[in-house]
Amino acid sequence: MATGFLTDTTVCIGCKACEVACKQWNQLPADGYELTGDSYDNTKQLSGDTWRHVAFIENPKKKRLTGDVDLVALAEDVKEDLPNGAELDGLGRWTFMSDVCKHCVEAPCQQACPTGAIIRNEFDNVYIQPDVCNGCGYCVPACPYGVITSVPEDGRAFKCTLCYDRQIDGLEPACAKACPTNSIMFGEVEELERVAEERVKQLHDRGYPQAFLYGTPEVGGTGGIGGNHSKFILMDVPETYNLPENPFLPQDKVAGATVASAVAATVIGAVVAWAFRG
């Protein structure tokens, strides 16, 4: 049985309960008190200490305030006469998205790991065994979604465990439990796929033709990754959410690269031998 997440971004209200629940359950340290100025997102990204991250996207796609906007005038609803050539192209809407490890079917991080620290556990989740990882850091650039990260103070790499410990006890992951809108759903992958399909259809029917499922072999889980066990319902192009549209499994190139290197080795060896014979 494979378990996973379905994160329906259309009902997310950006409350960050998942971020907090994840930190608390997994006893992850705080990220400091840095104010980024990036909307209300002071977490910025997933990291070794942050396994759920809520992205705050303002006015996606053209629906942006451009130019030098006078917010006071805006608040007073003075729509004509915006100063300095500013354009008001509709205030648009908020888009929130709670990001998390994608739990890839063919996981690049797992294939990269030389120690075998990263395994698939009995729930078919991608899990790092913290007692095996030696902190080589090779999984980090391998992940196509920037999820897994080394923690310098600790030395090892960390990411979402899909609350392995809670699942063993028959509980759902802390983030899914805490989510007040059911934006984060947890369950069997096949069941979630069915739910997602229905929801996307419903959104289409309600006049949101842009809704789609991210994390399938067609989009998000492409290029040999074979889809993700943790999927997302998105309302805009993946890049808006800082996600790649068409990522790939880097290890698919290892065999070809090795053959090319063997050919090169033969040629270079022969050339040196030729030069040495004089």
Binding site: G37, D38, I57, E58, N59, R64, T66, V69, D70, L71, P108, Q111, A112, C113, G116, A117, V132, C133, N134, G135, C136, V140, P141, A142, P144, G146, V147, T149, S150, G223, G224, I225, G226, E239, T240, Y241, P244, N246, F248, Q251, K253, V254, G256, A257, T258, A260, S261, V263, A264, A265, V267, I268, G269, V271, V272, W274, A275, F276, R277, G278
Partner: protein, 352 residues
């Protein structure tokens, strides 16, 4: 402290135009690149620090030297100084390399976990194994050399045992592993999501290998020249080999750049461009070629060797550090990981 810092910056913000403004002004702040998600990199860079590119360089010299020693044996060379130089070089390189690699680990005390499993699709795994086995084999070969050179404190049991090592056979058996040590560093880079590296998947290994061999040749030639040890026949052979291998390296780098296309941008950045163009392309390949094809003097050979070694080091430096810049650039990754983007050949291929 934090609070006063925030107040200070807010006061500054308010001063602009004398109007209150939000802290985040998506397209009006010229200092910010807010493409995509606030310009935050969508993938994470590798943490690798200086130990890694120094290792790439030293490991390459060791691998190259082993190739030379083995070919020398196979051709029946007798030049003792040549064998001493190449074999001790390989031994030294294979002793330093693991130290650097372990140093770079987040948990150095667990380095042996690298050898608890062999994963053929992980170049980090195969490379660690190759380094361990090749390092041990080259150690055996060098020990025999040391025994013959009387470095094992005369005629004792250990030195008699060392002299029994079938060094030619061991060298030949170790050759594929040694060459892999020279090439896998490139394969290690391509098997990631970093666009600049992954894009050049076919040629990165061969390019690193050619650079390893040219560095090994230059190092050997440098030592023999400086010590006035080498037979002139050996020096001539090394020079001929340096010429061809450098030409091969130049072709491979040129082809790599073509293949990388716009994703090679970090190599020409303000910081890395001078090192790559000046240090590797001109200083490390073009200039040595001019020197090697010109008039034959000891000084010219020495200078050429030094230039090749420096160029080889800078090549690895810009490749590793350029990968950081590449990973930090959202535009670069998104254009790469796009349908019909940098990897049109991937779709379909991975699904079998």
């Amino acid at each position: 402290m934090g609070v006063s810092g925030i107040r200070g910056s807010m006061a500054e913000e308010t001063k602009r135009n004398g109007k209150p403004e939000t802290s985040h002004r998506p397209e009006t702040d010229p200092k910010r690149d807010d493409k995509n998600y606030y310009g935050i990199p969508p993938i994470k860079r590798a943490h690798w620090t200086w130990q890694i590119y120094v290792y790439f360089w030293i490991g390459g010299i060791g691998a190259g030297s082993h190739l030379l020693a083995t070919i020398g044996h196979l051709l029946g060379w007798k030049d003792e100084a040549f064998f001493r130089t190449t074999k001790y070089t390989t031994l030294a390189a294979m002793t330093i390399s693991p130290v650097l690699l372990i140093w770079d680990l987040g948990r150095p005390e667990r380095f042996l976990n690298m050898l608890r499993i062999l994963k053929l699709r992980s170049p980090m795994s195969t490379g660690s194994w190759a380094l361990s086995v090749f390092g041990s084999m080259s150690g055996l070969v060098a020990t025999k050399q040391a025994a013959e050179d009387g470095l094992l404190l005369g005629d004792n049991f250990a030195s008699r045992l060392a002299k029994l090592v079938p060094d030619r056979l061991v060298s030949v058996l170790a050759l594929p592993l040694g060459l892999y040590v020279g090439a896998y560093t490139g394969i290690l880079l391509i098997a990631t999501s970093v666009p600049m590296w992954a894009r050049n998947w076919l040629l990165m290994g061969p390019t690193f290998l050619s650079s390893a061999v040219s560095s090994g040749l230059s190092w050997t030639s440098l030592v023999l020249h400086l010590g006035n040890w080498g037979e002139s026949k050996t020096l001539g052979a090394l020079k001929r080999a340096e010429r061809v291998v450098l030409v091969i390296e130049a072709i491979l780098i040129a082809a790599s750049l073509i293949r990388m296309g716009k994703w090679s941008k970090p190599l020409f950045s303000k910081k890395l461009g001078p090192l790559f163009v000046g240090g590797t392309l001109i200083g490390g390949i073009a200039a040595p070629l001019v020197l090697l094809f010109g008039k034959e003097t000891r000084e010219r050979s020495i200078l050429a060797s030094v230039l090749v070694l420096v160029g080889g080091f800078l090549f690895r430096y810009v490749m590793v550090v350029g990968g950081r810049e590449s990973a930090d650039d959202p535009e670069s990754y998104f254009s790469f990981a796009k349908k019909d983007g940098g990897r049109p050949e991937v779709s379909g291929e991975g699904s079998e």
